[in-house]
């Protein structure tokens, strides 16, 4: 299946792009607990890279090491060609960070917080553009403490972007966004990436990762268990298609070859996973027509990232 079914691919112009982030054998230990156990990652410049994994998998530890907040226990880390542990003002000029939570002065207004942070950078984006991009233009004069949780989160996103960073770190960026704000935020992030910004994000929203990320890695208990394009991670070698329908009652038994092909029956819902969607669909519809049975709510779709992710996490923990 071609990768474009899953989202955009990075334009390489025929050349191999450089890596904005390169990590080899990264380890992090807190006291006796090792939360990162030898991680390798490469984030191509200008791409959107999603780091997935259950709570406590080590996502935030990994991203905060790359941001320069935490020191690593072992391994090689290169961010924009620099070691983030030694990164000074010049390094922070080139990155933008959206933390998992907080960081806003409650008694200042939206415009005051944004404007103050803009002055710390040499190439700030225009205030109006930032406000418009996160739909806070009308709240410009509102104090932060009067904003809703979603509005605060949007302000934090604007703050991360306000210095025109080469590399943008987003830790669970759309947590608490309503669907409209979520879509607008992703459109903006896609535009930034298209203009050359590299984006490294963590998320637990799988369909979001699937549609927006060029590449992703799944982190479970401090180990990368899968890495690649969304198509590669979903496929994991076997490209599965899911056929699903409801059987009107009373219905005859499914033919044996379909049951063997992997039909899951829950109540009157039948779900068949197949590597040969064309043939299986013909078998199912042929059987249904022959029996005079209606296949209600029939859907045919590719296996989702969420399903692949659940299997990866379960098998990694088994």
């Amino acid at each position: 299946m071609p990768a474009r079914c899953y989202g955009p691919t990075v334009a390489t112009n025929g050349k191999h792009p450089g890596d904005a982030v390169r990590v080899r054998g990264l380890r992090k230990r807190y006291d006796r607990r090792e939360v990162l156990r030898g991680i390798d990652l490469s984030v191509p410049a200008g791409s959107i890279f999603a780091l997935l994994g259950p709570n406590g998998a080590g996502k935030t530890s990994a991203i905060e090491i790359l941001e320069g907040y935490r020191e690593r226990t072992a391994g090689e880390v290169e961010v924009l060609g620099e070691d983030p542990a030694l990164g000074g003002r010049a390094f922070r000029e080139r990155i933008g960070i959206m933390l998992q939570e907080g960081g806003l002065e409650p008694y200042l207004t939206v415009a005051e917080v944004l404007d103050a942070t803009r002055t710390y950078y040499r190439r700030p984006r225009p205030l109006d553009e930032l406000l418009a991009a996160v739909a806070l233009t009308e709240q410009a004069a509102t104090r932060v403490r009067r904003l809703s949780a979603g509005q605060r989160r949007r302000l934090e996103l604007a703050l991360a972007v306000c210095g025109s960073p080469e590399l943008l770190f987003l830790d669970e960026p759309t947590l608490g966004f309503d669907p409209v704000a979520r879509r607008a935020a992703w459109d903006w992030i896609r535009d930034l990436a298209a203009a050359g910004t590299t984006v490294l994000l963590t998320t637990n929203v799988m369909d979001e990762a699937q549609s927006v990320a060029h590449r992703l890695a799944v982190l479970v208990d401090g180990v990368v268990v899968a890495v690649g394009t969304p198509a590669e991670v979903v496929g994991q070698g076997v490209e599965l298609t899911v056929i699903r329908f409801c059987l009107a009652q009373p219905a005859p038994e499914l033919p044996r070859e379909l049951v063997r092909a992997g039909a899951l029956v829950a109540g009157d819902v039948v779900e068949i996973r197949t590597k040969e969607p064309t043939r299986t669909l013909r078998d199912v519809t042929g059987w249904a027509l022959g029996q005079g049975v209606e296949l209600r709510d029939l859907t045919v779709r590719a296996r989702s990232l969420e399903e692949a992710y659940m299997e990866l996490v379960e098998s990694a923990r088994a």
Binding site: E67, G68, Y69, R89, A90, R92, E93, I95, I97, L99, E101, G102, G103, L104, E105, P106, Y107, L108, E112, A116, T117, T119, Y120, Y121, R122, R143, E156, L159, G163
Partner: protein, 252 residues
């Protein structure tokens, strides 16, 4: 943008937020002023007249104002900003850490200066108690050294506060007893408690400011310099501790 410009901008921003925060503005600004007015009225009789009371309380409330603005207010502000993730976010921007701290200190010093000026005016206009002109340099130097030292100590104490919930109790526990025994809130010039207080910085700041207001004070003869030295030494120690242990992120 240079570090100095950034520090000044930070100070202005902190100041704007300060006046919009009712708790900070009340305890730091209103409380010392109200205390000064009440003390000069209520304690006029026991202290031998309202002029006597004003002669004691005008400089002592200036000391109190310096301590609340530069120590209590600064430490509370830094702890709350740290626990809210504000310091962590700023740490991820090109803003130099020193510019942030200078901005915080600048805001505290501004409030302390404002309060001292209002108190000086109150003492002079309401009670006819003023600083003799030849002692004005002593008053200003004492205020400056006191503000610098208590700012450094405020930054230092912020590092031992584990979280936002513990901040008011811990910060006040380190300073209220000293304010009580250091001839500031109540006259307490002699005895064991006064001897203990002489080890700590609050008493020395109070002594310098009181001496500036009292032409007969023996401190002016040279002991003023000793008090300044003790105060500055405490400040320097606070600065060393602050620089070594300052945290930009909440624990964990």
């Amino acid at each position: 943008m240079t570090g100095l410009t950034l520090a000044l901008r930070r100070a202005r921003l902190e100041n704007r937020a300060f006046w919009r925060n009712p708790a900070a503005a009340f305890f730091t600004v209103v409380f010392p002023l109200v205390l000064l007015v009440i003390a000069t009225m209520a304690l006029a009789a026991p202290l031998g007249g309202s002029e006597q009371a004003a002669r004691f309380y005008t400089p002592s409330m200036m000391a109190f104002a310096v301590v609340t603005a530069c120590y209590t207010n600064l430490a509370m502000g830094v702890v709350l900003a740290r626990e809210a993730g504000i310091l962590k976010r700023l740490r991820g921007t090109p803003l130099p850490g020193g510019a942030y701290m200078a901005g915080r200190i600048g805001q505290a010093v501004f409030v302390a200066t404002l309060l001292a000026a209002v108190m000086a005016l109150y003492g002079a206009l309401v009670h006819g108690v003023a600083v003799p002109l030849e002692r004005l340099p002593m008053l200003l130097l004492g205020l400056a050294v006191g503000a610098a030292s208590f700012s450094a100590l405020g930054l230092a104490v912020s590092t031992i506060v584990p979280d936002a919930g513990a901040a008011p109790a811990l910060i006040n526990a380190t300073i209220l007893p000293l304010l009580l025994v250091s001839n500031v809130l109540v006259p307490l010039d002699q005895g064991m408690l006064a001897t203990v207080a002489a080890v700590f910085p609050v008493r020395h700041l109070a002594d310098i400011l009181a001496a500036a207001y009292d032409p007969a004070s023996p401190l002016a003869a040279g002991a003023g310099w000793r008090a300044m030295l003790v105060l500055a030494t405490w400040g320097a120690a606070g600065l060393v501790v602050a620089m070594k242990t300052f945290r930009w992120s909440p624990r964990g």
